[in-house]
Symmetry: C2
Subunit: 275 residues, 2 copies
């Protein structure tokens, strides 16, 4: 750096310009087992998303994604990982940047630019984590998530946890510049524009698992083809033919030589992610 640059920097006053607040919000997904399994019947799985009940205004008592303000000492990605850890006790193994949400009125407190991230937790991590309550978080919970398309083409997002049901109806639009966005038509219980963020996140997640990315992060080191397929089915919301899915999946897998056992049906081979 030469003298001119040095001098410039010393005289530079960053406070002269307006600045927005910047946050990271994280959509954390995990697969959980449903009850009702027997020695013979395997447990069904469900796709879940972590939400936090807001204990303070704005949107008090609404449900929000974990997240918080960017600090001076961290990148956006580090911020996402830190906030996730602080609010849930879970250390993120994977993160993906989903998009930026910068609507003028999305937070009534002040102008907030939110960088949305996506993360996936394995069942193993799920069991070890404590769901911690942050300073303005009253309660956190895992909600079974459903994201489907209605008859008129609208998108329906439904999150359910025991008797708590949160929903939103959205449409997919292209904005003035051809960018695809979800727009909320009805909002039942989500804080801020988080329904839109969640819709973007699951769309992104579906794309990745379809291409055998992120899907292994739901699973332990060793797993069966049925495990893998059921996750793909829960994420995509579609049922698949086992023989065809097997054929595709095997390109991404290595056999361990081990088998499952102890169930009231044929044992299955255990696989690992290839290389």
């Amino acid at each position: 750096m030469n003298q001119e640059e040095q001098q410039f920097l010393e005289n530079y006053n960053a406070e002269q310009y307006w600045k927005p607040s910047v946050t990271a919000d994280i959509a954390v997904f995990a697969i959980q087992r449903e009850a009702g399994a027997t020695y013979r019947l395997d447990p069904k799985k469900k796709l879940c998303l972590l939400l936090i009940k807001r204990g303070a205004p704005p949107f008090k008592d609404c449900w929000a994604l974990p997240g918080g303000f960017l600090r001076e000492t961290e990148t956006m990605t580090e911020c996402a990982a830190r906030e996730l850890y602080e609010e849930t006790g879970a250390e993120a193994t994977v993160l993906r940047h989903i998009g930026v949400f910068s609507g003028l009125k999305r937070d009534p407190r002040t102008r907030v630019i939110s960088n949305a991230f996506l993360s996936v937790l394995s069942e193993e991590k799920l069991e070890n984590m404590k769901i911690a309550a942050g300073d303005d978080a009253a309660y956190a919970g895992w909600f079974e998530i459903q994201f489907t398309q209605g008859k008129k083409g609208e998108y329906l997002l439904t999150l359910q946890h025991d008797d708590i049901k949160i929903y939103s109806s959205m449409k997919k639009i292209k904005n003035k510049y051809g960018m695809t966005e979800f727009k909320i038509l009805k909002n039942g219980g989500f804080a801020f524009d988080h329904a839109e963020i969640i819709a973007s996140a699951i769309t992104h997640l579906r794309y990745e698992t379809k291409h055998f990315e992120l899907i292994f992060d739901f699973l332990p080191e060793k797993f069966t083809l049925s495990d893998l397929q059921e996750i793909e089915e829960r994420v995509s919301g579609k049922t698949l033919l086992a023989s065809n899915y097997r054929r595709k999946a095997e390109n991404f897998l290595t056999q361990t030589g081990e088998m499952t056992n102890g169930f009231g049906h044929r044992p299955a081979r255990l696989f690992t992610r290839k290389k």
Copy 2:
């Protein structure tokens, strides 16, 4: 909004938290014709990117993407469109969000979070635009862009405009959380981390044109299949077999019934983008 929320908002002080500066940077691509055409020989095309020579520190005399600070009254996307217009006189027809760049030291002045966008200008728009100089922009120019992979797997970015040549060597890495990023190994003339942003932008552009998105924005309303194919070739950096490309492309095209004429070779059908 109830009384509790109302009261909360009145007491809320946004100034108590640290905030970063937020900018939009835009990678604008266009196709330009090369000289050397005759009645018989059609002009070759080249893919170009708009860069601005910085007239003030930091990175004085280096080349940067057009961009600037987010204002209170606009979204990130609106900011990108405005900055593009102010610095080039071009009204964006399309924009795509590429990613967020939030490294701690990416701007020596102060902490700056940059939201990167991608845009495409048609040859028509290109001819009508004046390249305007902004307050800290000394000069702007269209650079022929090349982005290739070297023998050791490294990525080479070369931008050329007359006798000005800017380059960077990068590697593609997965960060701690599995996110794909470009990391600069050598930097010859780019300001900030803009080489990384450009690498991300062209990677994104290649993905889109391959799927017949954004590619039509390079072209006028009516165009030939050869026009379309040559753009795909310049963007992707690969040559394609005309018969095969035609087969794929026709799914996205409508015939106009019109033909080109006046060239020293067989006339071609003019197509439009389907619906």
